[in-house]
């Protein structure tokens, strides 16, 4: 058992003693994610600002709609000619030009069907948006005149979701996917180098002539690489979480992570740790089988695809049947999803933890057997 510690110590020395490795696997992922998402958020916010007050010209403004239109548009005086306004639309200086018939309000009461012309420029996002809002407004008005029945016409608040419910919902969809992908990329980065790389360079063979048990060697590798992979995952996760307020800056959703309690986070941590054990062991086995890092890179593709599918499935299964918790990786995605949604159950959690740990242990035994096989460890050509 002391040998396991010796191996872990060596792997940590290797990792934490190497400033470049630290930078590329611990700092960079978080910083890059933060920068990318913040930049994206800035772009979104910009787009939304632009479209917030479209410039509109309206002829023959009907009394019935005047107030509503004035609310959503920046109305300009209409002493310009039609041609001048249209050329402003083309230039992008104006967003929309609406022409009502002269006695629109009278016409709508009778059986006549009045024509409304709306000029816009679909090449401009802001103009397209303005167009949709006018059409929506007129549709609503048309329905209110026909008035067969009313939907939500009172002044009550009809959408009862509060902001943190919405945020929990969104997080429960997105987080499992993002988290598993981030963890996976962290695992890939460290495992391939440490197992396929060492095999390729002949440094594993040196350990194999010492009396250390192959299974201890496998366990030592898996545990130490898992810790490093989790650290890398945490870095990415922090980058992502910290950038969320920037990313969602334009939206009215409050992504307060304080909505989750200490227990939620502790559960999340345990699930993540057990998932990483499974992923690291899986990747370790593929890496040990490969003859080189390059070959390993190709061989891990199926593992990546399975992980992606599992995390995708978790987005669409609202109330998962218990059986799904017996499938590694998928069970983790589901656990993370229910944790985020606040529908977390203790039994699925325990099944997930048990399955993942048993699974990782079996894979560790398999890895040990692979280290013992000369066909696998010394397969040349």
């Amino acid at each position: 058992m002391k040998a396991v510690l010796t191996i872990i110590k060596k792997e940590f020395m290797r990792f934490f003693g190497d400033r470049r490795l630290l930078l590329t696997t611990l700092l960079l992922p978080g910083i890059v994610l933060y920068a990318v998402y913040s930049a994206l958020g800035a772009v979104f916010a910009n787009v939304m600002q632009d479209s917030s007050v479209p410039v509109a010209y309206v002829r023959n403004m009907p009394e019935s709609l005047g107030e509503a239109i004035d609310e959503i548009f920046d109305l300009r005086d209409t002493d310009l000619t039609d041609e001048e306004i249209k050329s402003q639309l083309v230039e992008g200086d104006a967003d929309i030009f609406i022409i009502f018939p002269e006695n629109f309000d009278d016409l709508t009461v009778g059986s006549d069907v009045p024509d409304v012309s709306i000029y816009y420029n679909s090449a401009q996002t802001s103009s397209s948006l303005a167009y949709s809002s006018v059409v929506a407004l007129l549709d609503a008005y048309e329905q209110s005149i026909a008035n067969v029945f009313n939907i939500n016409s009172g002044s009550d608040r009809y959408d009862l979701a509060d902001s943190s419910d919405v945020s929990a919902n969104i997080l429960s969809m997105i987080v499992p996917m993002v988290l598993i992908m981030l963890l996976l990329s962290g695992c890939v980065a460290v495992v391939l180098e440490s197992i396929a790389g060492e095999k390729e360079r002949g440094t594993i063979a040196t350990l194999l002539v010492t009396p250390i048990k192959r299974s201890y060697f496998a366990i030592g590798k898996i545990l130490s690489l898992s810790v490093i992979a989790v650290l890398s995952g945490i870095s990415s996760f922090l980058g992502l979480i910290l950038s969320l307020p920037n990313l969602m800056g334009g939206m009215e959703v409050d992504f307060s992570l304080a909505a989750y309690g200490v227990l939620d986070y502790f559960g999340l941590f345990l699930v993540v740790m057990s998932t990483v054990l499974v992923l690291v062991s899986l990747l370790a086995i593929v890496s040990a089988y490969a003859k080189s890092v390059k070959e390993a890179n190709g061989l891990i593709v199926p593992v990546m695809i399975i992980a992606v599918i599992c995390s995708l499935v978790s987005m669409f299964v609202a109330s998962p049947p218990m059986g799904l918790y017996f499938i590694p990786v998928l069970n983790s995605a589901l656990c993370i999803s229910t944790l985020m949604a606040g529908t977390f159950g203790i039994v699925p959690f325990l099944i997930t933890m048990g399955i993942n740990i048993v699974c990782a242990a079996l894979l560790a035994v398999l890895l040990g057997a692979m280290f013992n096989s000369e066909k696998i460890m010394f397969n040349r050509a």
Binding site: T6, G17, R201, G202, T206, L208, V209, T210, P211
Partner: protein, 256 residues
């Protein structure tokens, strides 16, 4: 009477040939063919043979890195087939395919491998000091392996392979790629180890090394042991090199 420290019995090992090389229906290359020999404690046994003779394959079987297809070998009575862990603790093995991680320093690697072998802390420190001094590694003890010269790397590999002070030492071409000065350091050290009562088996294709160092010599050609005797007996009336050419034409029937 010397004690028999190594006894190899009918060691046989073949490798599957890559598809491209499977000409004339041959699927396997018989690298070591029914090899039996013994080595005695306190002597240096030389395994002499041309490229591809099967020297490295033989030594890898003795070191438990690969398993024989059939046959067995006993090191100090421990079977390489049924108790490989027992063998690993008793031997030191050096071959070019075993590398040390570039990132670490000789000092760290010495400690690491000592720990894996269960060497007590004080013994380790004392051995490290004397071995590093002996090989001139002390100056470079804290330089990463990546930045060491080929010769220094080989010296570190030798030292690391025997951190646990084994009684039986298996060295595959220990002077390969070394200049004469470094090679001499190594061969002098091997004599010294023999003086301490260690048993050594080494492989080489360098005749002078065999003549200088070995007590007994096995000549391998094409997977088989074609001659096995004391150095004195083998070189009674001609040099090792001439003797080898005689053996070679005998075995191959004049073909070259």
């Amino acid at each position: 009477m010397q004690t028999e420290i190594l006894k190899a019995e009918h060691l046989t090992k073949s490798f599957r040939l890559p598809l491209k090389q499977q000409k004339t229906g041959e699927k396997f290359k018989l690298a070591v063919n029914d090899l039996s020999f013994s080595a005695y404690s306190g002597e240096i046994f030389g395994l002499l043979g041309p490229n591809g003779a099967g020297k490295t394959t033989t030594l890898r079987m003795l070191a438990t890195l690969i398993k024989p297809d059939s046959g067995d070998a006993f090191i100090d009575g421990v079977s390489v087939v049924s108790d490989p862990y027992g063998v690993r603790g008793r031997i030191g093995f050096l071959t070019s395919e075993l590398r040390l991680e570039d990132f670490f320093t000789p000092d760290y690697l010495f400690d690491f491998f000592s720990e894996l072998h269960g060497v007590p802390h004080d013994v380790r420190e004392q051995r490290k000091r004397s071995m590093f001094a002996r090989f001139g590694i002390d100056e470079f003890a804290n330089v990463k392996m990546a930045n060491l010269s080929t010769g220094m790397k080989q010296k570190v590999s030798i030292v690391i392979s025997i951190v646990h002070d084994p009684d039986f030492i298996i060295f595959d071409e220990p002077t390969n790629g070394l200049d004469v000065l470094t090679a001499k350091t190594v061969t002098d050290y091997l004599s010294e180890l023999r003086g301490e009562g260690k048993s050594i088996i080494l492989s080489t294709h360098i005749f002078s090394l065999v003549e200088k160092l070995c007590d007994r010599v096995g000549v391998m050609i094409d997977g088989r042991m074609v001659a096995l005797d004391t150095l004195a007996a083998l070189t009674k009336d001609k040099s090792m090199e001439e003797k080898f050419f005689d053996l070679y034409s005998e075995v191959t029937g004049g073909r070259s």
